[in-house]
Symmetry: C2
């Protein structure tokens, strides 16, 4: 393959696009790989399409090696299957919906669980047909509220989605393991660093769930890991609850005047000044903060919820939503407080909350659901609101003085928190989700009636797994991981070409020599990008080569008079002067090395 | 490649799908290549996807060979570019429209002229950048009123669309010729018979326009051809008008009572009975029929139109619409006649019509537009309506007694009509449109401001060509052209595999031998489908092999005891008994032959 820059449909830009914040977005646009068509919707130019094709090829090969068979579903789909599983409403405004000319409801599919399930139901009927894993590489749509970071969170994007079908749990475990191993091979081959983290399954339902994240400071996902090998998405971190405490020696709860202490900070200061603790200072961790939130179901139904958690922790809405999916959570507003005068802002305590909470004599109580952080175990003692302005209750003991409707993982995870598996303290990092594998179980098969007859002729509901790779996002992650200030620096396996030949100056002999080198390399099966532009300065050509990011740059210029050509690795390392007679052999060998890595 | 039927995701069906009318649709579904997801929307199963990939590969290679560069545009696009060219409204209900969560208008693109134009405008600015031809292979959407014939007229389908950009007309001609030649190579390589016909450009605008049709009785498009080499879409056929006649000897027009003659047939019968012609009988060709129609603009604006044509011809609405695009034409209704009492149904004559038409004294006249068939030349004499019930006018001479607002190609084309280029009488045939190439000219570049600076630094509007191949439709056309009663019979270049190995019976030695043959062939780079299903009868296996349509079938069965294996060409020809030791070599040679064709 030989692409000549004089005719290649590409233009590099010196300026970052105004809407770009992350390096992959800036550089992919500047280098002429992609171009924005609408928010979160991109056009692929020739060089970008070449890289995308290479990423797809790696995914396709590893899927085939793992025994998955390729199919292809439409993007435009009727509502009915998604209604049968409840996702038509659960997705809320996050999907694109439309009507056809007859008024039929359609969507642009964000994932295809329903269609794969129905297809297998259509074709298969016996346990002998299973196991089966199908996949597609296909364009998907999500109407993101905030498309961002170029290809990292788009509204039209390419995904590989695979689904496994098994007759029993052991089969699902095996299918899951095969896909998990295939994902590792895909990312290994692409040279993309990744961490496999335990995840929640969100609106998809199901049980075992892991994400492949590539660590990067610009990642949207925070994850945690311990030195002992634990790794999880923050949404999936479970709190290590302390053991319950004996409360037999605890003093009775007592209400104190705490004027002007609507915040944890002001409350702690007041307590230290007026109700000092003999052994140590009060801290925020001694207070029980009760946060009023609103739970919004996909149907639009809205319900208040109070979450009680130690005052030194903030509520992490994403963690809370993961536990309450598919509902979304938002802050309560003035109207909510107006409708619930028993919730005294800044002074809310458990005494006012929930059907299971004992109520002080004469106090108002509310039917708002009350959930506690798992750290609030029986016997823990708290300073918390007394449900009157300027008053708090001290020595309120969980289990003795109050209970709640349950616990919830709502508190933020912090560096230093213990890993749930006892493998040490957690550290926090950021990453981009590039893959997600999870065990759907029987949810979709049950909803859509996918059964097979077992050995005894009895109908068994099939159990499924779902496995996704964000193909366009992987390309962006590769750009994030392989660039510097001057541009992209692709790994050889996904680069749009292996070698970038630059002819500099105006000398016809230089162009003739460069032309011959480019053609000879191409003749050996090496992919060559050849900058043959006649009237472009060497500086511009070098800058373009660095921006475009082809792994080896061959410069044919002044040195030619001495019979020398320069070979520079784009990603770093020394430039070498190579005799022109040897350069094709030399470069071919280096390309072989790069591709063998 | 070796696909085992025991695990391949495919199920053949014995019954035709209820909604299928044409062979390609029936067989592609029955053979497990595609599956309906919604009206006009299909899922691709593994075998179908393999064939589709091969068709795409041929198209992609020939596009590259013709110098076209591949890009990829989104399917989901904002309204604005389509509004700038007027197509947002012109498409009417034929496109899928939707709103995003912010209320922005989007469409699922039916073609991408606007986006290609804007992309080139974004990147290029000089005549030196041209010529340029870009293409994509991409999923497109049209909300067809009547999706039909499976893949032939779908609502989600794959198209290759290419666009050329030139600075002048000579450049456009060269780009057009390059694409035209590439199309010929594509269809030649696919072994698909085609006719290149002159076409109209419809809602696209533009000048030179040709369609590639593959002749088939189930085709939606009627085309004509002459023995002398003329070929055209019926919409593009221009009528050969006879020379004007001298009317000096014509008698004056005279109105006659013709009671109960609202049809041409009844009128001709009456005239022969009561106003006999001395030289011969009157025929329908002597009458001038005036048909009232309504013209509906994409904006919804509706206007009446009367078309005058010889009484022996029907109006062809598709031809008429081609001349009046983007308006659509419908029959006039009772309300239209009620609003225009001067249009006396069954007795309408030119005397009542149009601003240019002389009006008989005292007669009503109308402002309805009046267009004539080109055969109604000056000097021709007609029997036509007298604008009173039961009365007709005789010897009404065109040019002398009436004129109209213009001519229009509204009459049906009939076998035997003269070819417009004088190359003889036309014959009619039916075909499927598999490709369309046309010169858009400057319409899109003008509307969207795509100019480049010429040698003199002056801005020139770019001239464009547009070139489409319906990739999924081509696959269906291949199935139409390559099947028999028993199933599909693919040409080797697009078949999902080259060889279908069938193991029959229950004998383990048969399966072992078949397995070895399948693996050996696969090891030589031959694509093998291997029917290794253990408990399926030979009859079912043979029927499946004929349905699936792989070009060579190798049967390993009873003959093995005598050391023989049978090799059958699927498309016909004798089965051969080949010694098992030679079969791999023999089959490999035959596959090479088939692929060399």
């Amino acid at each position: 393959m030989l692409l000549r820059l004089s005719t290649l449909f590409v233009r590099t830009l010196r300026e970052d696009p105004a809407d770009a914040e992350v390096a992959s977005h800036k550089l992919l646009v500047r280098a002429g790989y992609i171009r924005r068509a609408a928010p979160g919707i991109y056009t692929w130019l020739p060089l970008g399409l070449r890289v995308l094709g290479k990423v797809e090829a790696v995914v396709r090969e590893e899927m085939a090696a793992a025994g998955a068979q390729e199919v292809h579903f439409p993007a435009l789909l009727p509502k009915e299957p998604y209604e049968a599983t409840g996702r038509w409403s659960e997705y809320g405004p996050n999907i694109f919906r439309l009507k056809d000319r007859k008024g039929g409801d359609y969507l642009l599919a964000p994932t295809h669980e329903e269609l794969f399930t129905l297809l297998v139901k259509d074709l298969y009927s016996s346990y002998k047909d299973l196991p089966l894993t199908l996949f597609q590489i296909q364009t998907k749509y999500r109407d993101e509220a905030r498309p961002r970071a170029g290809l990292i969170r788009g509204r039209e994007f390419v995904m590989k989605d695979a689904y496994s079908f098994d007759v029993d749990d052991a089969g699902l475990d095996a299918s899951y393991a095969a896909q998990r191993a295939a994902y590792q091979r895909v990312f290994d081959r692409l040279g993309l660093e990744y961490v496999i983290v335990t995840a929640t399954s969100g609106a998809m339902g199901g049980s075992r769930s892991e994400e492949f994240l590539t660590p990067t400071a610009i990642g949207e996902d925070t994850f945690v890991r311990s030195a002992g090998g634990y790794a999880a998405n923050v949404e999936a971190v479970t709190t290590v609850a302390p053991p319950a405490l004996d409360w037999s020696d605890a003093p009775a709860a007592h209400v104190e005047d705490t004027p002007d202490t609507p915040t944890i900070e002001s409350l702690v200061a007041h307590a230290n000044a007026h109700q000092p603790r003999p052994d140590r200072e009060w801290t925020a961790a001694d207070t029980l903060k009760n946060v009023v939130l609103a739970l919004v179901q996909p149907t639009g139904e809205r319900e208040l919820l109070v979450v009680g958690l130690p005052g030194d922790r903030e509520v992490d809405l994403k963690r809370l939503e993961a536990g309450l999916a598919p509902a979304e959570v938002e802050a309560a507003g003035e109207a909510d407080f107006a409708a619930h005068p028993e919730l005294v802002k800044g002074y809310i305590g458990p005494g006012a909350l929930g059907p299971n909470v004992p109520v002080a004599e004469g106090a108002e109580r509310t039917a708002v659901r009350y959930l506690l952080d798992p750290r609030v175990v029986d016997g823990t003692r708290w300073i918390t609101g007394a449900n009157e302005p300027g008053r708090h209750v001290f020595d309120l003991v969980a289990g003795r003085d109050f209970t709640a409707d349950g616990t919830v993982e709502a508190a933020e995870v912090r560096a230093g928190d213990p890993a749930p598996d006892g493998s040490g303290p957690l550290e926090l990092a950021r990453g981009i989700e590039i893959g997600h594998i999870f065990q759907l179980g029987r949810k979709y098969a049950q909803a859509l009636g996918l059964t097979v007859l077992d050995q005894n002729g009895k109908a068994q509901v099939v159990t499924m797994g779902s496995y996704g790779i964000g193909v366009t996002r992987v390309l962006a992650a590769l750009a994030e991981a392989n660039h510097d200030d001057r541009g992209l620096a692709w790994p050889a396996h996904v680069a749009p070409a292996h070698v970038h030949v630059v002819a500099t100056g105006k000398d016809a002999t230089v162009f003739d020599a460069a032309d011959e080198i480019a053609r000879d390399l191409s003749g050996r099966g090496i992919e060559v990008l050849y900058d043959d532009r006649p009237k472009v300065s060497p500086g511009v050509k070098f800058a373009d080569a660095e921006l475009l990011g082809v792994p080896l740059v061959v410069v044919v210029g002044r040195g030619l008079a001495e019979g020398l050509v320069e070979v520079r690795p784009r990603a770093g390392g020394d430039a070498q002067q190579v005799p022109v007679a040897d350069v094709v052999e030399h470069v071919a060998a280096r390309v072989r090395e790069l591709l063998a890595d």
